[in-house]
């Protein structure tokens, strides 16, 4: 494993650890954080809307409170003792007394209107609709007392008629209207509400009404003046049940102003129906957030219970959606920022932790890499006291033992190598000596053979000359002696041939087996070539040769050293011929095939068949002469068959086999030689 892959593996552990740490920390954190942000959105929006809700509630509360106060003032005025005396005694009193009674009422009304400072006027109207006492209040003290001819008849006014129908203690509250004086709109336009209650005498007879004209601005003042700290630019307004603005942050849009009379501002005209409908018809406090506008509305219905008609008011505050959501989004952004910072810190912590965990492993890995590169003296620094530290210590201990072992091993290998080299040198020296010895032996034997053969040839020739009586006639005994000499000479030749073949075959040493020049060739070609060289011997022994299945179209290809196979076959066939002391035998050569130990082999069957006249004992001797290195029998004396045995050994080395067999009682001896089968490339 190279360094890069080790590095990758180490980083992989660090990465895995980092991923695990992130999975168990960062992901839950992010999930929880994002879930919290998601879940808090709506409550946050609700919270963001709270100032608007509070604003409309405050306005509503203010209106209720103001109307309640005016109602109480009207009831208070209707029950004033001075007014009761006036009602009871005015008609029967003297003029001066009437003036005094009237003055008392005026004083009471003066005190009330001056104290409140928010009523346009207060008036006592008798049961005929005539104003009896009336005080107007504009600004500053005291109120203006309306006298004599300036007093009007209000009998045709709705508030008079409606109040006349009420019982004592009940209060009529009109809707917002423009004040009229003497049937003409008061200028500048004065928006008022009439709060009226019946007046009774002791006999509970109705004696007129008390009416207070309340300036509408007193009720609607908060719409323009009250500002929300959170939404200073919020728009607030109050509409009546048909959508006209009774009050508006933009005063020009208010009903009853000169501009309004020209423009007829209204909720229905200003906003789409998706906004105006719920604003005017939903009864509960409602938040209206529709995509048709960029604003969010909070509205509340106001039903003053002392309004005798079925009218109602709608109090609305609105802010741009972006402003509301800006707060929510700001909060979300802050939360998200905190979440991201926390996540970043967690990531950094996880990174730090994974590095901290993998640092000893990296250290161990780097050390192991150095040691694996062969530096067994290297020791890894123990950087932690945990399991990795223990592992590092054990690794160092193991390395130390390995180093010691390696040093011992190196020493042993060095010693053994030196010994082996010495042995090898000795062997080479001995081998050279052996080579030289073999060469000398072969040279000696070759020379010996040649030196023996040459004079023996002369001897043979002389015997032949004598036997042929070239040099004169011979006696029978002389001829017989020459024949014996010829036979002994022949025996000597056999010995010579054996010696030469042994020398030739044994010159192949075991270390040369590996250097055999193996090739693929036809076994038949070798046999024919060898037989050519042995033709003379075959003829001399009168051995007839038969080829059973030699075919030119079917080559018997074998894999072996051609030169050695040539020597082997020559040696074996030579032995078959020369150990055959019987004349007229036949030699049948048959090529054959077999599979031995899953190896395909081609072989040659050399079947020697003796005539029936030959005795079994002679066949046995022939068989033994081929099979055994030495034989001494009645047929053979001191014959050697070393060359055949060396040839058998060579065949085995070439991956083949030599089988010599004789079926008992038969006159047949079979020699079979197998070689490994080859294929033509």
């Amino acid at each position: 494993m190279n360094d890069d892959s080790k590095k990758r593996r180490s980083f992989s552990i660090q990465r895995k650890l980092l991923v695990y740490l992130l999975i168990i920390s960062l992901i839950p954190l992010l999930v929880m954080g994002l879930f919290s942000i998601y879940m808090s959105s709506k409550p946050l929006q609700q919270v963001a809307m709270t100032p608007l809700k509070n604003h409309v509630l405050s306005i509503s509360s203010h209106i209720r409170q103001e109307l309640y106060n005016v109602r109480e003032d009207a009831l208070y005025a209707s029950r004033l003792p001075d007014l009761s005396r006036f009602v009871e005694y005015y008609d029967e009193s003297s003029q001066s007394e009437q003036i005094r009674l009237l003055q008392d009422v005026v004083n009471d009304f003066q005190e009330l209107i001056t104290k409140r400072k928010k009523y346009h006027y207060i008036s006592y109207i008798n049961s005929h609709g005539h104003e009896v006492v009336r005080l107007n209040y504009s600004s500053g003290d005291p109120a203006n007392v309306v006298l004599g001819e300036q007093l009007q008849n209000k009998s045709d006014k709705v508030f008079f008629k409606k109040t006349e129908e009420l019982d004592f203690g009940e209060v009529y509250v009109s809707t917002v209207t423009l004040n009229e004086e003497n049937g003409i709109l008061d200028t500048p336009y004065t928006r008022v509400l009439y709060i009226a209650t019946p007046v009774e005498n002791i006999m509970r007879d109705k004696k007129g009404i008390i009416v207070i004209a309340l300036r509408a601005e007193v009720l609607f003042k908060p719409v323009r003046e009250w500002k929300m700290q959170e939404y200073p630019n919020a728009v607030s307004f109050i509409t009546n049940q048909v959508g006209f603005y009774l009050a508006h942050s933009d005063s020009t849009k208010e009903w009853g102003t000169r501009q309004d009379l020209e423009m007829e501002w209204s909720l229905i005209n200003d906003y789409p129906t998706e906004v105006s409908n719920p604003l005017l018809h939903d009864s509960e406090m409602t938040i209206i957030d529709v995509p048709q506008t960029d604003e969010i509305f909070v509205k509340i219905m106001s039903y003053p219970e002392f309004m005798n008609n079925k009218s109602f008011w709608v109090i609305v505050s609105s802010v741009p959606r972006s402003v509301v959501y800006a707060r929510v989004n700001r909060f979300k952004q802050v939360l998200l920022g905190i979440l991201l910072i926390t996540a970043l810190c967690t990531f950094c912590f996880a990174m730090m932790l994974s590095r901290q965990f993998t640092r000893p492993i990296k250290n161990l890995r780097n050390g192991a890499s150095i040691i694996s590169n062969g530096d067994l003296s290297h020791r890894i620094e123990v950087v932690s006291n945990d399991e990795i530290g223990d592992l590092t210590r054990d690794f160092n201990s193991m390395t130390a033992q390995l180093e010691e072992l390696y040093q011992n091993l190196e020493q042993k290998v060095k010693e053994r190598t030196e010994r082996l080299q010495k042995a090898l040198e000795d062997l080479r020296t001995k081998d050279k000596l052996l080579d030289e010895s073999d060469r000398l032996k072969l040279d000696f034997l070759t020379n010996l053979s040649s030196e023996l053969r040459t004079p023996l040839t002369s001897v043979t020739n002389y015997i032949a000359l004598l036997s042929s009586e070239v040099y004169g006639n011979l006696a029978d005994k002389q001829k017989d002696a020459l024949k014996k000499a010829q036979r002994n000479l022949y025996h000597t030749f056999k010995w010579l041939d054996g010696i030469i073949r042994i020398s030739s075959l044994s010159a192949l040493k075991p270390d040369q087996i590996g250097a055999l020049n193996c090739d693929t060739f036809n076994l038949v070609d070798i046999i024919i070539s060898v037989l050519k060289t042995l033709q003379y011997a075959l003829d001399e022994q009168r051995i007839s040769v038969t080829f059973a299945n030699f075919s030119e179209t079917h080559p018997y290809l074998i894999v072996a050293d051609k030169e050695k196979v040539d020597e082997i076959m020559a040696s074996i066939l030579n032995a078959i011929i020369h150990h055959n002391l019987c004349k007229n035998s036949s030699l049948t050569l048959t090529c054959k095939e077999r599979i031995e130990n899953k190896i395909q082999q081609y072989g040659l069957d050399a079947v020697v068949e003796f005539p029936d006249s030959v005795e079994d004992m002679d066949v046995d001797d022939f068989y033994r002469a081929l099979k055994e290195p030495f034989i001494h029998s009645h047929s053979y004396f001191n014959i050697t068959n070393l060359s055949t045995n060396v040839a058998r050994g060579l065949v085995t080395l070439l991956g083949g086999e030599v089988i010599i067999k004789r079926i008992s009682g038969s006159h047949t001896v079979t020699v079979t030689v197998y070689f490994k089968k080859g294929e033509r490339a």
Binding site: P455, V459, T460, N461, A464, S504
Partner: protein, 125 residues
């Protein structure tokens, strides 16, 4: 008619005895004792058969065979290597040099004549 035989042999006894036997057997015999003499004799005597010893002075028997075979018209001459060297590789070497047959010494002269006749018959066939 018996073929004319050239005996190439450096051993005097062998040469004498074999020549005597061949002449006794009615063969016309020429002799040479070294390679160069053999080549000269081939030019001069025009033999039908040459018994060629391989280990001979001046020019060895293999070279003599090669030189004879290199000349035009020499294919009719039967060259029989007749040597005391009995190793198979030497036999093969002789045949490659141009010899028609290889016979190992020692061989009885009558057997030698028989062998020669077989070779001649085979060649004529």
């Amino acid at each position: 008619m018996n073929p004319k035989i050239l005996l190439v042999e450096d051993n005097e006894d062998n040469l004498e005895t074999l020549a005597t036997f061949l002449e006794f057997s009615k063969y016309s015999v020429a002799t040479a004792r070294d390679g160069q003499a053999a080549l000269d004799a081939v030019e001069k005597e025009k033999p039908d058969v040459i018994f060629l010893d391989l280990s001979i002075p001046i020019i060895d028997g293999w070279e003599v065979a090669r030189r004879i075979r290199s000349k035009q018209g020499s294919e009719k001459i039967v060259i029989i290597a007749f040597s005391a060297m009995a190793l198979p590789q030497e036999m093969e070497k002789a045949l490659q040099a141009g010899c028609d047959a290889f016979l190992s010494k020692p061989m009885p002269p009558n057997a030698l004549i028989e062998e020669m006749n077989k070779i001649l018959n085979k060649k004529n066939d």
